[in-house]
Amino acid sequence: MNVPQLIWLEILYRKLSFAQALAVLVVAVAVSVSTVLVVRSHQLKAEAHVAQLNDEIRKITKNMGFNIDILPKEVNLSDLYANDFGEATMPFDLVKRLADSREIVTINHLRPSLIRKVRWREHDRDVILMGVSAVVPWTHRKNPKKPLEPAVPEGKIIVGAVLAEQLNLKAGQEVVFRGEKLILEKVYPSRGSSDDITVWIDLAKAQEMLQLPGRINMIQALECNCASIDRLGEVRAEIAGVLGGDVQVIERSSIALARAEAREKVKAQGAASLDQMQQHATKQTVLLAVAVSAIIGLLMFINARQRRYEIGILRAIGASTRQIILLFVGKGLLLGFTGAILGCLAGFAMGLRATANLAAESQIQLSAGDLFVPELVAVVMVATIFLTALASWIPAVTAATQDPAVVLSQE
């Protein structure tokens, strides 16, 4: 005769009682797990909504454009402010030097361009020609940013709203620009600036048209809004550290700053909402955990308390305290382990079902993998097993340390 044998025989004898205790345990664990999953799914959806909102704000505000212009040192700023660009040029290589540098951290989106006021001979009018390339990727940065403005593909042309309207141009049609046949890629909506009379083509094509191979006259960038007090000063210092005195840096537009601030605001608001939700969820989960712990603890305590008579008998025939505690805690562990596993499985099934209903109401889909939290399973398993063992241990150890005759006489 040994303790595991006694545990097994007792369970077989009180099958219904064991099944009832197991059922209560499974329900308690399942409700806890499913509640946590539902709360988590709400949270993940809220996070996704905030991310979506951020992205939409980014898309809405991206047309506000770049706010840092890096110009050749020879550019006269008076001319620049009068014409929106300066005549002086600089080598394309400067962009590469910036992109390859590890020291530049306060700006994003390096876009080289070549700008000139030119005659669109075919339509007999002046326009601003902007040759642009794709954003030059940073050599040492991970997770590249989405481009603010896409590059103009070779053989394509983009025009501003006023030009398109006045010249009756439609996206997709073929246009001839200074002798080059190009397809009109798209028409930018009105921006209320010189962009409305601007023509964008591929940088290489512009350099060829203007006979300025390898030259650019502006590098546009976006300040990352991560500098501290003297933002422009810090950007200038960084760029000077890489390019020396070959360039000058100006902050072009306060609109771009407003853009960054708007995005920061949305981000902060989203984070605050998520934090609030997290706190609320944590309170709910803690309350639930306390209630479930009380149920499990009480269940096991009553079970062990009802079996004091057996403890008295076993003590009377000479069983040790250790054996008696093992007998009760062993059953508690078995019940806790089985209940925790079945409860987790049932809880995940219930949680996924509830989440599927929520997903149907919203645009955001969550997979089982998104909701599966190994830490939750570990905590539920350990807590349930610990609680069942503890709740069995307390009455067992109390009865086992009393005189057997006292225990037997009380029953």
């Binding site: 005769m1 004898y13 000479g318 069983a319």
Partner: protein, 226 residues
């Protein structure tokens, strides 16, 4: 093994009152001696038996078996000693409801290693006429059968001291005889035994009969041998 009880007093609290269950009782039961204790209800017989068996710590006094004071031993050691050397038969049987007859008889092996326990259990089952009941649980047994199981369990480890509390109280004459014969046989084989009983015929199987009244032993008489 001799059982020596010296100046045993047992008081317990009931509400605000202290109840005196046993008062200043001294008693020696020698190996191979069978002592019966008689007396009215509440005289302290069962309490004295529980104290003798190491199941209830006395307020004062010593219980020695072969010179070893039971209550000087830590509780775990006392339990182990009890498992090895003391067999206790309760009036209310105290069988584990989820074990079969055979398994109940073998429960002492939980506490003490008995190499021939299985064989011994089979012998006891046969001796007490329980072969047809060996796989049955206590709920399916009669009172007489339960008491035979309880007696077999108490005798499994061949204890040197046997303590029986009204073992025939619920039994008919035939079952009483079976239980008493078994105790007598163990005594004849060298065990010391104390039997608490109201039954005159049961007491007559003992070597000596003690009478208790008001928590004390009042008389002691030798039983005449036929």
């Amino acid at each position: 093994m001799n059982l020596d009880l010296t100046k045993i007093t047992l008081n317990y609290q009931r509400g605000e009152h202290v109840v005196r269950a046993v008062h200043d009782v001294s008693l020696t039961v020698a190996a191979g001696e069978f002592v019966a204790i008689q007396g009215s209800s509440g005289a302290g017989k069962s309490s004295l038996l529980l104290v003798a068996g190491g199941l209830l710590r006395p307020t004062e006094g010593q219980v020695k078996i072969e010179g070893q004071d039971l209550y000087e031993q830590p509780s775990e050691q006392r339990a182990a000693f009890r498992a090895k050397h003391i067999g206790i038969i309760f009036q209310r049987f105290h069988l584990l409801p989820y074990l079969s007859v055979r398994q109940n008889i073998l429960t002492p092996t939980l506490a003490v290693s008995l190499p021939d326990a299985e064989v011994r259990a089979e012998q006891l089952i046969a001796k007490f006429g329980l072969e047809h009941r060996s796989q049955h649980q206590p709920s399916r047994l009669s009172a007489g059968e339960c008491q035979r199981v309880a007696t077999a369990r108490a005798l499994l480890a061949n204890p040197k001291v046997i303590l029986a509390d009204e073992p025939t109280g619920n039994l008919d004459r035939e079952n009483s005889a079976i239980v008493l014969d078994a105790i007598r046989a163990a005594v004849d084989a060298g065990s010391a035994a104390i039997l608490v009983t109201h039954d005159e015929q049961a007491a007559a199987r003992a070597d000596r009969v003690l009478h208790m009244r008001d928590s004390q032993i009042t008389t002691s008489e030798q039983v005449a041998t036929e």
